[in-house]
Symmetry: C2
Subunit: 407 residues, 2 copies
Amino acid sequence: MYSICYRSPLSCNSKESNKKMNSVKTEEDIGSIGLVKEQFATICEPPDELILDSGRKLGPITIAYETYGELNEARDNVILLLHPLSMDHHAAGRYAPDDRKPGWWDNFVGPGKAFDTSRFFVICSNCIGGCRGSTGPSSINPATGKPWGATFPVITIRDMVNAQKRLLEKLGIDKLFCVAGGSMGGMQALQWTVSYPDKVVAAIALATTWVHSAQNIALNEVGRQAIVADPNWNQGDYYGGESPRRGLALARMVGHISYLSDKSMHEKFGRKLQDRDEISFDLLTDFQVESYLQYQGLSFTQRFDANSYLYISKALDYFDLSRGHNSLASALRDVQARFLVLSFSSDWLYPPYQSREVVSAQKRGGKQVSYCEIQSDYGHDAFLLEGEQETPLIRDFLRHVREETHA
Amino acid sequence: MYSICYRSPLSCNSKESNKKMNSVKTEEDIGSIGLVKEQFATICEPPDELILDSGRKLGPITIAYETYGELNEARDNVILLLHPLSMDHHAAGRYAPDDRKPGWWDNFVGPGKAFDTSRFFVICSNCIGGCRGSTGPSSINPATGKPWGATFPVITIRDMVNAQKRLLEKLGIDKLFCVAGGSMGGMQALQWTVSYPDKVVAAIALATTWVHSAQNIALNEVGRQAIVADPNWNQGDYYGGESPRRGLALARMVGHISYLSDKSMHEKFGRKLQDRDEISFDLLTDFQVESYLQYQGLSFTQRFDANSYLYISKALDYFDLSRGHNSLASALRDVQARFLVLSFSSDWLYPPYQSREVVSAQKRGGKQVSYCEIQSDYGHDAFLLEGEQETPLIRDFLRHVREETHA
């Protein structure tokens, strides 16, 4: 199973599977997962700490996670969703009926959706190093009784995956039918297939890369320098005081620009002015895009911790799936999972060529891989927004793998 | 005269002109302009101040400039070079024999070079708003006896051009054979042809745009926010004290990333580590690209003023050649200058499509325009680095225009 398309992704599907897809669900069947509850698990308790890539030990570790759908008796219908940098374990549904927004990937997760909760038991866990419930730099270091801050150990994408593996063990789940994620989540999905080749049946990697490029590192470095240049950062020891929110806001602004495309910014903002008809001839904000970025930066500081940004961006920069191997192909040699790789034409953060390198390596290794470059003007964010194009591809891929592996 | 090429720019030239080009100069003829001296002129003295686009008046104004070559008797061999944001009037030659580096465009300016000083009288002036000798926010406000700081009037690309016009009047030069520049210099070149249509015979616009895009504005806004977030900025009033160098360094880091391409960063840095064989697993710099950016940021603060960065980046963001007109075509209607427009395939700051919009508008207006998209991996910086590809195009263009207008 190897296909490449550069136009409408529907052309990636055979006529037969299109027909199937169209007949599978009516609009009535497709809905929200409804109300959900976040859950917490404690893993890696001493003396069974997690051994990190750095050699340091971390434990006990709290993991925040959510689940959607039902685990079947065979325990073979589990999909693990992996979130991008600025998201968390709240992928779908609402905590309360009047929540303004559902989880970040709600359009993909629910009954009849791409990750169909009427068939699959979907788990989404918050990564370690984060600040949304899992252990990270804002957590209390049990040895000192104070927040870790910048003394928290540096973590990697592989460490995140190893922690997820321990969570699954705790939940009594031995094998994943699928790991799936976009951006940083896609890196984790790829890492899963390499770290635990016999534990993953299928992997879906969206808008991602197998190795952070020099440009990727450079963009993250600006964000890190903005945070550590903020006097409130105070060597990472700011909990209980003023946080380095201006530095974090700047980091987010840089990030946000890299998530959009030149064209999507042109279409969304162009040169429209903010609350005025004519340019002001002062140094204050004139353009809507300036206000928008400032707002994005500021609102991010209300839900994200600056130290977590440092640690997670560093994990991204360290990411190189071929680390410890001679090449990507060698790293992928033992992978058993079928791959679905989706890239997006206007994504300049993780451009399509990076996905194609994964696809080519898998193909050369005789592995099963489906690939689509989806035409989209949304830039990197496309993987969150092109549900209409992605859903049939994901749904068909999961069905094919299910049929093949249960034959 | 209208040509487009997407491959080797040499194919833009006819065989005949290639032959001519190759026979024009031997290596011995091509050399440095040698030692140069910066000069200063005072213009716009009250009551004849410069009326700015904002409506405010500015004067007296000091302009720093350099000249290379000799003004001929007819005074019709003048080329005005216009510098990009972070450069200045020192385009060519050295101030002293032991200067570590010559002017920023030395490979383009000198006897036998693209801007051949054995034929042309070349002037390069520092823009107003800058900090390298021309009046800007770090200059003394005559009304207060103190540096202007953030009370300096906001300026535009058109204001810069109007100041240059006044400088030329002072020098007794009525008409320009050519205006030429890259990036911000290219915007000024285009603005010259619109503001003074009967005063410019030819214009060369490299790696530039006719209007700052939402993405361009967004990148600049990050830089501005980094500067104003630095506590040392102090509302622009920092002269004599600590300057907001950390903020300015961040602004420069963002700018620098936008001047390079993904590919050039990959080739220059890849994932090479700085002074170590293995990743460090701490939050400090690991990668060469991080050290490089930090160095670029820091060294920029030693030669550039943070307030000037605010003002000049704002001038860039305000740039819209069609302002006050219905369209770009309408703005260009009265232009008499022949155009040479060069874009660079990997320039994502001012992508080739922005240049093509200028070319198309000129073509639709029945104007003379030559265009080449030069294949280069150097990103925006290509216009400074692809001398070998650019020189024959510039030299041929100037020769053709000279022949046509002196026929």
